[in-house]
């Protein structure tokens, strides 16, 4: 298998999914690197029961969520040792660096992302795949391994929870 051709075919897909999770260029590059290293090792074991794209989505989502968890643990440790709470909340704005976001919407999208980051992983994933990646319900159901009905129900719960978080955020 020609890895270079494979990389250039799927690099934008992986990078954009990573960006949509991390909202940060450096983190997205790290995640993309990890994803392709994993793909390099596992490509020979890929069974064509699902589409290649679905498989790549699954790996990218798992790596992105793992990376975000790792970052959270690191931040918690740093907060405990050094930082004040005021500086910690300012860090969120500093870390938000999504190149696909237009300047006029940056602040608003940063606010939305703060709330998305508080959601459980499944809620976060369904919102990102449906509303940012603009995948269909059928595609999201293949990626997440759930039925279309389950995805619809999950999305409704995610939407309601996000609404509550956004209201609380606007109150501050």
């Amino acid at each position: 298998m020609d890895f270079k051709a494979f990389y250039f075919k799927y690099k934008d897909l992986v990078y954009n999914v990573a960006l949509n999770y991390s909202a940060n260029i450096e983190d997205a590059q790290e995640i993309t690197q990890d994803v392709f290293l994993t793909l390099l090792k596992k490509i020979d074991h890929f069974r064509s029961e699902s589409k290649m794209e679905t498989w790549i989505y699954k790996i990218t989502i798992n790596k992105s969520l793992d990376y975000l968890r790792f970052k959270k643990r690191k931040k918690r440790k740093f907060l405990f040792n050094n930082l004040s709470i005021e500086r910690a909340s300012n860090n969120d704005l500093i870390n938000f660096n999504h190149p696909g976001v237009q300047l006029e919407s940056k602040e608003k999208i940063n606010e939305i992302y703060k709330c998305i980051n508080k959601l459980p992983d499944s809620y976060k994933t369904v919102i990102i795949l449906l509303k940012i990646e603009n995948r269909t319900y059928k595609e999201v159901s293949s990626i997440m391994g759930l039925s279309v009905k389950a995805i619809e129900s999950l999305f409704n719960r995610a939407k309601n929870t996000l609404e509550i978080f956004l209201k609380k955020e606007n109150e501050y």
């Binding site: 934008d12 990078y15 690197q33 919407s105 996000l162």
Partner: protein
């Protein structure tokens, strides 16, 4: 919520930077320092073991040779 999702769908797709490919290849070819350290220690232990065994066998040969050099009468029980 409609506004929220409309704003989110306005996020553009971007192209991945070119340097990531080189980083992947470099990292894939990289042999970790722990593996190198383990190899070196293993080689060192094997050489040490061989030297020890060689020295031991040399000592055994020496003591055997010294018995051979004794006068033959000394070997008989009087």
């Amino acid at each position: 919520m409609k506004d929220t999702f409309e704003i989110l769908s306005s996020i553009n797709r971007v192209s991945a930077p070119d340097n990531i490919y080189e980083r992947i290849i470099t990292k894939n070819n990289y042999i970790s320092s722990s593996i190198i350290y383990s190899l070196v220690m293993t080689i060192f232990l094997l050489i040490s073991l061989n030297l020890f065994v060689y020295n031991q066998s040399n000592n055994n040969n020496f003591s055997a040779n010294s018995i051979i050099k004794l006068p033959i009468t000394a070997l008989y029980y009087e």
